[in-house]
């Protein structure tokens, strides 16, 4: 039983990465109707940002946690303004290709600079273990989970308790109609994109001390995150977070008890969810 709980808890830790990434994808999709294929590359850039800050400026993890998401969020808003925005009026396929291209460019630039092998990152901010009563767990993993939960809660409060949150939720639910109510949704598109980018970068920084930092790290992860977003319901912010943590937990337990399915369990779950609820667990049918 203890081992089961321990594994479930561990699943929540990997789920915290899914949740942060899926949350960003969901708000971006909701606001722009763009599936951001560059999301995995941003996660990778986040981790490399931490490596770069440590190597070139001697700045440790806490600085990285603060600076990297902000810097990448700014870069994201610029990319949105200069590139993505111009294609929003066209078929979504154009932005699908654009963001996919951005992902490949980022990945190849990193590969040119750092090669394809992993980079060292020796700046874990906390070491040792916590005694969680029933079992011990590495402090850093507990910290990751805690921070992710706090960020997800903060986003939830922002969305439900503030005027900006109401506007964003309205724009996600009915983008066109919201403009007819005197709200310049276009004004919110860019900051929301930057915000989603910042969340992915944050996940990347959090990954650096516990995962291999290499140019391909986001490409593999993001496929799972797309499945998470679909399971949660495309554009459902709440659904993406819940699905993120749930999938993390199921995957961890699946690895242990059904190793045969470890590669496919997420996609099987996605198929089942889509059969029963085509719009995902918390998704709604699309309006204009």
């Amino acid at each position: 039983m203890t081992s089961f709980l321990q594994q479930a808890f561990n699943g929540l830790v990997s789920g915290s990465f899914y949740a942060l990434l899926a949350l960003g994808l969901a708000v971006i999709f909701g606001m722009l109707r763009v599936v951001n294929f560059a999301h995995g590359a941003i996660y990778t850039l986040g981790a490399f940002g931490a490596v770069w800050l440590a190597d070139s400026a001697g700045l440790g993890f806490w600085w990285a946690l603060l600076l990297v998401p902000v810097a990448l969020a700014i870069a994201g808003t610029l990319a949105e303004r200069l590139l993505i925005h111009r294609l929003l009026a066209l078929d979504p396929l154009y932005n699908f290709l654009l963001t996919f291209g951005i992902a490949l460019v980022c990945q190849d630039l990193l590969r040119m600079r750092y090669g394809s092998h992993s980079q060292p990152y020796e700046h874990a901010p906390v070491t040792g273990s916590f005694d969680l009563g029933l079992f011990e767990f590495p402090r850093y993993q507990v910290f990751t989970l805690g921070l992710s939960v706090v960020v997800c809660l903060a986003v939830w409060l922002l969305l439900t308790r503030t005027r900006i949150g109401t506007i964003v939720r309205a724009a996600i639910e009915r983008p066109e109609l919201t403009r007819a109510f005197g709200i310049d949704t276009g004004r919110w598109v860019t900051p929301v994109f930057g915000f989603g980018v910042g969340l992915a970068a944050l996940a990347g920084v959090l990954a650096a001390p516990m995962r291999a930092v290499n140019s391909g790290m986001g490409a593999d992860l993001i496929i799972t995150v797309f499945a998470v977003v679909v399971i949660g319901g495309l554009g459902s912010v709440f659904g993406s977070v819940v699905a993120g943590f749930t999938i993390g937990m199921l995957a961890a337990l699946g690895n242990l008890y059904f190793p045969v399915l470890s590669q496919t369990s997420v996609y099987l779950l996605m198929a089942v969810v889509l059969l029963i609820r085509p719009a995902g667990l918390f998704g709604k049918e699309e309006h204009v």
Partner: protein, 230 residues
């Protein structure tokens, strides 16, 4: 108040509005009558700026709206009640009500809204998705009134509603009219239209084919209903 001159619009290849010209004055209620697909909804969307007019222009309170984006039109005082009511299922009743900024001098304060629509006061914390059809329509109307809009674009506000609620909507529209607000009403319910409207335009295949007075509508009701296929 609202001057529509020579507006044409199309969806892809199909032309849905053909040189439509009409006026709505202060405190006037004007209905658009026509079969499904005649272009009534598209005309409202063109006025709101949600659909691009290929030719012609819309002038509101002396101002040409051609280059004005939808959110600016709303802020100038055009209130939109779409055919599906446009209620946000994920927002509470009060969030729905307060979403459009109330920037105009004529804006209704929230207490007046709750006074006029007591049902909304009791449901204010409920998500919009949980309301009944009649409550949806009340909320949609209340929402544009709160902004103080000077022109209301109402797309079939009585469709599918119980007679008692239709009556209530009539009362509200008459109250609004007394305040000098102009209303452009898309309506299939001719009897209802005749109780609130001053004039009627008959729209067929994107063109205005006839302009009717209230008395004419009452006289020719049978003929018109047959034409509309009702």
């Amino acid at each position: 108040m609202l001057d529509i001159t020579g507006v044409s619009a199309s969806y892809g290849e199909a032309r849905v509005l053909d040189e439509v010209t009409l006026q709505v004055g202060d405190g006037e209620v004007v209905t658009l009558v026509g079969r499904n697909g005649a272009g009534k909804t598209t005309l409202l969307r063109c006025v709101m700026g949600l659909h691009r007019a290929m030719t012609g222009r819309v002038v509101f309170a002396g101002r040409d709206l051609t280059a004005v984006p939808p959110h600016r039109r709303a802020r100038l005082g055009i209130g939109y009640v779409p055919d599906d009511r446009g209620i946000y299922a994920g927002l509470s009743v009060e969030e729905n009500l307060t979403l459009p900024p109330a920037t105009l001098a004529s804006a209704w304060p929230l207490p007046r809204i709750y006074d006029t629509f007591p049902v909304l006061a009791t449901r204010r914390r409920l998500p919009g998705g949980k309301l009944s059809g009649g409550e949806h329509q009340m909320l949609a109307l209340a929402r544009v009134l709160r902004t103080g809009a000077r022109v209301l674009l109402c797309d079939e506000p009585t469709e599918g509603l119980a007679p008692i609620i239709v009556d209530r909507i009539g009362e509200i529209l008459r109250e609004v009219k007394r305040d000098g607000v102009a209303v452009l009403l898309v309506e299939q319910n001719l009897r209802f239209a005749a109780t609130v409207a001053d004039r009627h335009y008959l729209l067929a295949q994107g063109r205005i084919v006839e302009s009717l007075r209230n008395a004419e509508v009452r006289q020719r009701e049978g003929e018109l209903l047959a034409y509309l296929g009702l």
